[in-house]
């Protein structure tokens, strides 16, 4: 019997246990004069019985599924002929793969009789395993259902038991977030440590030259490339800065206008429209930035002689992958992010403050500027910090619209590169997993994580503090 069949059998068993437990409790209740004489409602007795069945059986099934193959493999390995046991690790795994494919009937290749014998053995072992499992589970189901049935007594605290299980389930789910964070840290930490074993951390953090491409040829003597991450961070900062310059004033003013000035009709139309901007996938923005905005900027600005600037540096030079394009588009993407977060905090400012201000005879803009914004300021700052962290971590727009040349510049018309772009370029495609080049991506990831973590931590603290003010 396959796992899925067994699974269905277990489900049926659980259902039966539930029905049995419930009906028995009802019978008992009938004898004793109503459900009131039971400790718990019949539903709980049923559920308790079902849980008795479900938990052990499902655990058994899961364990079996997890270790089934490796145990069989161990058994096979022990029964290999001596010469087979002397094979190199690679050859052995090749052999085992062949056996596997024969046993599962994927390939009909004719192999050597020994191999065929092993395959046969695997098949018979598997059948045996399945049978044992099936028998165990069915027995367990019957026994546990009976146990659950016997357990139904008027004074038995079924509800309390069920509730404890329920709570454990909830607890497990909530700890997942911690495991995720731990997972993130672990998944970047070890690789990063290895990376810093190859490249000194100071060079990585304070070096101003980034050219990991040099390291492609691992046979090249003494070539570890240049891993100074400063240009990446300045690039990231430049683009984020441009994005924030676009997004913050626009988003903020939009939020203010919508929540304070606009009448209901306008708000009902404009707000969801702007929220569409937030829902558009970043890959679309990237596409837009690379194919529409970047050429447009280039066409518009390239060779332009601005009165003051060109005096110093001559006609403008605009790169086809300018930071400006990516920053602009990122800014547009972040507008709704800023505006809806600010909108929330502005709306959270109690109406009574507005009334108070109007009641003193202030105009609407005075109320906004002198009462509402100061009141909402911590929240708005928090919102902006969250937006910044979003901009820093943004990947697809920059991957699509920004070059890979790491240049240490603050000129928005030049092409720069960002942390996330480098991470993707370093990891995409199949390189050796151990090369400094690949590991550098993890190190970048670690630094990015730490930076955004810091920002978020800061932002969340501010937002939280602000929320408490009116609670």
């Amino acid at each position: 019997m396959s796992f899925s069949t067994l699974f269905v059998i277990i489900l049926v068993g659980i259902a039966v246990a539930y029905v049995l437990g419930r009906s028995r409790s009802l019978t008992i209740a009938g004898r004793l004069g109503g459900i009131k004489s039971l400790h718990s409602l019949p539903f709980y007795y049923g559920t308790q019985a079902a849980l008795w069945c479900a938990i052990p059986c499902l655990i058994l099934l899961a364990l079996w599924a997890a270790f089934d193959d490796s145990i069989i493999r161990q058994i096979i390995l022990q029964h290999l002929s001596p010469e087979q046991q002397n094979l190199s690790a690679q050859e052995l795994s090749l052999l085992l793969n062949t056996v596997e494919s024969i046993a599962s009937g994927v390939s009909s290749i004719q192999a050597s009789p020994e191999v065929m014998a092993i395959a046969d053995r695997v098949i018979s072992l598997r059948q045996l395993s399945q049978t044992i499992l099936a028998v165990t589970i069915i027995c367990a189901l019957v026994l546990l259902a009976a146990w659950g049935w016997v357990k139904v007594k008027p004074e038995y605290r079924a509800r309390n038991g069920v509730e404890r299980v329920f709570m454990l389930f909830l607890l497990t789910c909530s700890t997942l977030a911690i495991f995720t964070t731990v997972g993130i840290v672990f998944s970047v930490l070890f690789e990063s440590i290895r990376f810093f074993g190859m490249i000194p951390i100071t060079e990585f953090l304070f070096g101003t030259h980034w050219s990991p491409q040099l390291a492609i040829r691992s046979d090249q003597v003494g070539s570890s490339g240049a891993f100074g991450a400063i240009p990446l961070f300045t690039g990231t900062m430049l683009i984020s800065l441009i994005a924030m310059i676009i997004a913050v004033p626009t988003g903020l003013m939009t939020a203010i206008y919508l929540s304070e000035y606009a009448n209901n009709k306008v708000r009902a139309i404009v707000k969801p429209l702007l929220e569409i901007l937030a829902g558009i996938p970043t890959v679309v923005y990237g596409f837009f930035a690379a194919l529409t905005v970047a050429p447009m900027i280039k066409n518009a600005l390239h060779g332009l002689e601005l009165p003051l600037i060109s005096f110093a540096i001559g006609p403008l030079e605009v790169s086809g992958e300018s930071a400006l394009a990516a920053g602009l588009v990122m800014g547009v993407m972040i507008i709704p992010f800023v505006s809806s977060l600010s909108d929330d905090v502005i709306n959270a400012v109690p109406q009574s403050l507005r009334d108070g201000s109007y009641g003193l005879g202030s105009t609407q803009s005075e109320t906004v500027k002198k009462v509402i914004l100061p009141a909402a300021l911590p929240g708005i700052v928090g919102a902006i910090l969250l937006a910044v962290s979003r901009a820093i971590g943004e990947t697809m727009i920059v991957v699509m619209a920004v070059g890979t040349a790491a240049r240490l510049t603050m000129n928005p018309l030049e092409s720069v590169t960002t942390v996330t772009v480098q991470m993707t370029t370093l990891l995409i495609g199949d390189h050796e997993f151990d090369s400094a080049k690949t590991l550098a991506a993890f190190a970048l990831g670690l630094v990015l994580f730490v930076i955004t973590l810091g920002l978020n931590f800061f932002a969340l603290r501010i937002v939280k503090k602000y929320r408490e003010q009116y609670d």
Partner: protein, 295 residues
């Protein structure tokens, strides 16, 4: 035994027959019969005078033909069942109703003879003259000083720092808060207790030297001790300001006001000296309301 003597049975029987309240003056069962306000709705030295005021929320009329004067330095209380239009009427007096789109006010509302609903009139200076204190204390999340200074600042009432300091101090003193806060003027106003906050709001209102102060259930969010303080304050303020107060608590109206106006379903039923209203009101409805025959 004399048959004429009132014995217990007699008394019971008589009571059965006379199951009626003490008074049955102008008995009203149909609200539409109320056409005119009884008592003394007018004043000789009117600060504000309202004539034939109707207020509509969209199609729905909330105030019907109200005529009322508010005298100089008078405390007038407005009472009545929930939804009778007290707040609506009060908010007409400094056009706070303008913030509600569907609200329409007709009739004549004069502040010292000037029609406040004159389309040419600007609400900003009007609200500086007719201040408002709200149900829930709503200090701005600024320092105590800035809270009080806010009004004078936006209206440009003080140019020099010293002037502003003086306005702030005077206002806080008048609101009976100075002693309690003078050492922490630059701490946030939201850190005060509820009653202190409400007094701060009053200080903020009087800082722009209004002539009239409107209060909409100013104590309903406060505990009894703070309420008593505010009531005390209202009494003191009435020396310099004209005050109109809406309250759900008849006792409060009884305590603080000079005259009491009773609203019922949007109509102004009775206005009288407070003593009179609470011991011997003129109108049957007022009587029934204040004796708890309906809410």
């Amino acid at each position: 035994m004399n048959d004429d003597v009132l014995d217990v049975a007699d008394v019971r029987a008589m009571n059965e027959v006379v199951q009626q309240p003490v008074v049955a003056k102008n008995k009203i069962t149909d609200i539409s019969e109320i056409t005119e306000t009884v008592g003394i709705p007018f004043a000789d030295n009117a600060k504000m005078s309202m004539r034939n005021v109707d207020v509509f929320y969209g199609e729905k009329q909330a105030i019907f033909d109200v005529n009322l004067d508010i005298g100089v330095n008078e405390v007038i209380a407005m009472i009545g069942p929930s939804g009778c239009g007290k707040s609506t009427f009060l908010r007409c007096l400094n056009r706070m109703n303008d913030t509600i789109d569907i609200c329409k006010v007709t009739g004549e509302l004069n502040l010292e003879g000037q029609n406040i609903y004159d389309p040419k009139l600007d609400v900003v200076p009007l609200r500086a003259r007719v201040g408002m204190v709200f149900q829930k204390p709503n200090p701005f999340p600024k320092s105590i000083y800035d809270n009080v200074a806010y009004g004078p600042r936006i209206h440009g009432l003080a140019t020099r720092r010293a002037d502003m300091d003086e306005i702030v101090e005077t206002s806080l003193r008048r609101a009976g808060l100075w002693e309690e806060v003078k050492d922490r003027l630059h701490q946030p106003g939201t850190g005060l207790s509820g009653g202190q906050q409400q007094r701060l709001c009053i200080a903020r209102t009087i800082a722009v030297s209004p002539e009239v102060i409107l209060m909409d259930e100013p104590c309903s969010a406060l505990d009894p001790i703070a309420t008593a303080r505010i009531e005390e304050l209202i009494d003191e303020l009435s020396e310099n300001f004209t005050i109109a107060i809406v309250t759900h608590s008849m006792q409060q109206a009884a305590r603080v006001s000079h005259r009491t106006a009773y609203f019922h379903l949007g109509k102004l039923v009775e206005v009288n000296e407070t003593e009179k209203v609470f011991t011997n009101p003129d109108h049957d409805l007022t009587e029934s309301y204040i004796t708890g025959r309906f809410g």
